[in-house]
Symmetry: C2
Amino acid sequence: MSDSLFEALRNLLGERASTGAALLAHHGKDESHHPAAPPDMVVFPESSSEVSAIVRLCVEARTAVIPFGAGTSLEGGIGAVQGGVCIDLTRMNRIVQINADDLDVTVEAGVTRKRLNSDLRSSGLFFPIDPGADATLGGMASTRASGTNAVRYGTMRENVLSLKVVLADGRLIQTAGRARKSAAGYDLTRMFIGAEGTLGVITEVTVRLYGIPEAISAAVCTFPSINAAVQCCTQTIQSGIPVARVELLDEMQMRACNQYSALNYEPAPTLFFEFHGSPTGVREQAESVQEIASEFGGGNFGWAEKTEDLNRLWQARHDALYAALALKPGAKAWSTDVCVPISRLADCIEQARSDIDRSSLTATMVGHVGDGNFHVIFLLDPDKPSDFEDAQRINDRMVTRAIEMDGTCTGEHGVGVGKSHFLKQEFGDALNSMRDLKRVFDPLNILNPGKILDLSS
Amino acid sequence: MSDSLFEALRNLLGERASTGAALLAHHGKDESHHPAAPPDMVVFPESSSEVSAIVRLCVEARTAVIPFGAGTSLEGGIGAVQGGVCIDLTRMNRIVQINADDLDVTVEAGVTRKRLNSDLRSSGLFFPIDPGADATLGGMASTRASGTNAVRYGTMRENVLSLKVVLADGRLIQTAGRARKSAAGYDLTRMFIGAEGTLGVITEVTVRLYGIPEAISAAVCTFPSINAAVQCCTQTIQSGIPVARVELLDEMQMRACNQYSALNYEPAPTLFFEFHGSPTGVREQAESVQEIASEFGGGNFGWAEKTEDLNRLWQARHDALYAALALKPGAKAWSTDVCVPISRLADCIEQARSDIDRSSLTATMVGHVGDGNFHVIFLLDPDKPSDFEDAQRINDRMVTRAIEMDGTCTGEHGVGVGKSHFLKQEFGDALNSMRDLKRVFDPLNILNPGKILDLSS
C-alpha cells in the first residue's frame, strides 16, 4: 500500500490503524490449512461511517480491503492474498437494539454469537445459529453460516432480516426493514449473505430471535454402521419430527471425543439428537426417534434432560476438532465440508470414508446430517507435503461426487480461496452471472479480492 | 412489435404464437384494479429452450417480454405497459421430478400449487405455500409469495431450493443444486425470487416439501377488538407455539363471510388458527392458545378436527375476497397489503381502519397476522373516480406508516406497477443497488419493463 494511504488512514483512525508485525500476522491467518497472507495494515473502525471512510480511501488508492471478524473461517476467507487493508470489525460490538416483542435484534457486525446470547439471556430469547466457533455475526452472515441447529431453525440465509452494508464506493445502505417477510424489490439482503465480503462490507446485522424452549432434551444412540445412522436420521427428517439438532460422529471421531472429553461412549457411528418444545413434546419426539433408531439397529439409547448433562454432551460435540487434533499431536487440521440431498448422504459419506481408509491419512468425520451436510477433518503432518496432496485429492473427489449428487461444494464453510475452483462445475453458466454481480458491485475488484470468484479465468 | 418479430415467433411456435384479440385482452389484466395493458402477442412455449429462443428473438427486436402464469397478481405485475410479447408459461406444466426421500420436487414454472399438491397426495408430502389463488409456482417464486401457512413454513424465499432461469440474452442457467443449504457463491436463487420477471424468466422451480402432518386441527376465536386479537396472536408467536396458520378477519369481513358462506360466526374481530403436529401436540397447542386468548377477552373458542369442518373453515377464509365483493354487488376490489414488525401490527391496522371509517369507502381487512402482514380490500364503485382517489390516499397513508414502523410496502403481493413509488421511501440509497442489478441483468430493459423499478427517475 502507498505511503499516502497509510498516512490518510492514520489521520482518520490514529492508533486504530496499525502495522505491528504480530497484528498483521494474526490477521493474515484463519483456522484453515491455507497459507497465511498478512495484510499491509489493520484498521479498527468503531462505526459504519468510519468503515465507509476507510473504504473510500482504499478505493481511491486502488487498495484491497478485507473484512475480518473472529478469524475463525475455514477456507482462507480472510487472507490478504493481494495485500491491502484488513478491516477488523471487533470494536463494532454494540448490541444496537433488542426488539423482544418482535423477536429480533440488531447488532454491529463485530458482536459474537456467544456474547449475543449472553446479553439476551434475561429476555428469555436466544439466537440459534451455532457454527461451533464463537464467530461474529458479520462473519456468519458473510459466509452464510449454519451449524448444529440449522435443521430446525435454518441458516443465516433464513434468519437475517436486514443488513447495513458499506458498498465498494463507500456508500452505506440498509438492505431492508424489520418485517418478517416482504415482496418489495430485489433481495439485497440475501445477495450480501454468503458473499464473503466481496460485494460490500457488512457493518450491522438484524436477525430473528426465538423463545428459549420450555424443555430441551438430548439423546445419544450408536449404530452398527454409518449407513444405518444416516438412514435413521433420514427417516427422522422424513417423518417430520422437528428435531433441533441431529449430529453424526463417526467411529474415529467418537474415539477421539472419548479420549479428549473423558467420556465413555461406545466407539461406533453415533447420532447426537436434541429436542426443543414442551415437556410432553420433547418426550414424544425422543420416543419417536428411539423407535426409528431401533429399526436401524440403533443401541445404547442414552437420554439427557439435565442442563449439566446436556452441556457436557454438546461440549464434546463442539470440541470435535480439538479432540481430533489430540489424536495426532502436532498435526495440522484441514476441515472441509460438503452438502448433498439427504438420500445421497450415506453414499457420499461412505465413499469419502473409503477413500480415506485407502490412504495413509488419519481423518474423522462429523456431520449436521439432518441437512445432508458433513465434514471431514484431515489430520496432517505439517512437515509432510504428501499428506496435503493426499488430502487435496480426497477432498477433490469428495466435492466432485457431492456436486454430481446435486449437492454443493460447501454447506457452511464458504468458498474462500479453497473451493473456488469447484464453482464452475457446480454452477456452470450461472457462474457468469455471479461474475456480473461482482463486476457491478465491485468494478475495481477492491473488496476481498481473490475470494469466491477467480476473475482471471 | 415489428412484422419480422411476429413472423419469427410464428415460425418458431406456429399456432402457439397468437394475436387473437380475446387472448391479448385476457393476458393484459390481472386480478387487480390496475388498468389493463394487453401485449401485442401471446406465446405458449413448451420448454425452457423455447423460452430461450423467444427471449433471443425479442432482444434482437428490442421488444419487451412479460412472463405470465395464472394471471392472479394483485399489483399489475403482468401488464404489457410498454407493449411486447407475453410469455404464457401454462403449457410448461410438467412435474419434472419428485424426490420424495429428499423432500423436494422440481416442476416447470406453469404448474399450479393445487395441481402440485394433488399430484403429491399419494406420496404423503405437501407443498405448504398457499397465497389463496391457485397461482403457478413460477409466478409465486417471481412475487416471493407466501400466504396463510408462512408463519410456520416460511415464504417462497425460504422454500425454493433452485431455479432454472432464462436470462435477458437468452442463456439458460440453473441457480443451484438440491442441497438444503449451501455456502457456495452468490445467492442467485434469492435474486430471482421476488424479481417479478424483471431479471430473468423462471422456467423451472425446485421447492421443499413437507410430510403431511399426522394431525391437523383448527380453532376460531372472537375478540372484543382488533387490538385484543392482534395481542393474542403476538403473545402466541412470542410463546413459541408453532401455529401453522393464524389469520385475522375484521368485523366487516366476518359479516361478509357469514353471508357469503352461510356461516354463523359472531360479527367481531376473529382469529382462525390451524395447528399441525402429533395428536397430542395439536391438542397441547390449542390449549395453550385458548389460555392466551382468554387473557385478551377471546370468546366462543370453537374447535375443528374433522376434515370437512376444517375445509369449510378455510374455504370461508380463502373466499374472503369474493365474500367482500358480495357485500357491494358491482363493486371492483382493490386489495393491498403491508407487513410490519409484529409489535406495531395492532397500531398499523387500527390506524388504517380509522382512515377507512372516516372515508365513505367500504373495506374489509384480513391478515396473516403471525407474520405482521395484513390486507385491506377496498370495494370501489367502478363509475366513481373519487372512490379510487380515496383508496389511493388511504393506501398511501397506510404504506407510509408501515414503512415508518420499519415494515414494508408489500408483504406478499409484490410491487408491480402499484407500489414502485414507495421503494425510494422504503429502501433509500439501496434502491440504487437494485437499479444496478437491473442494469447488469437486463441492460436493454426488455424483461417485464415498468415493473418494480421506475428507471426513468
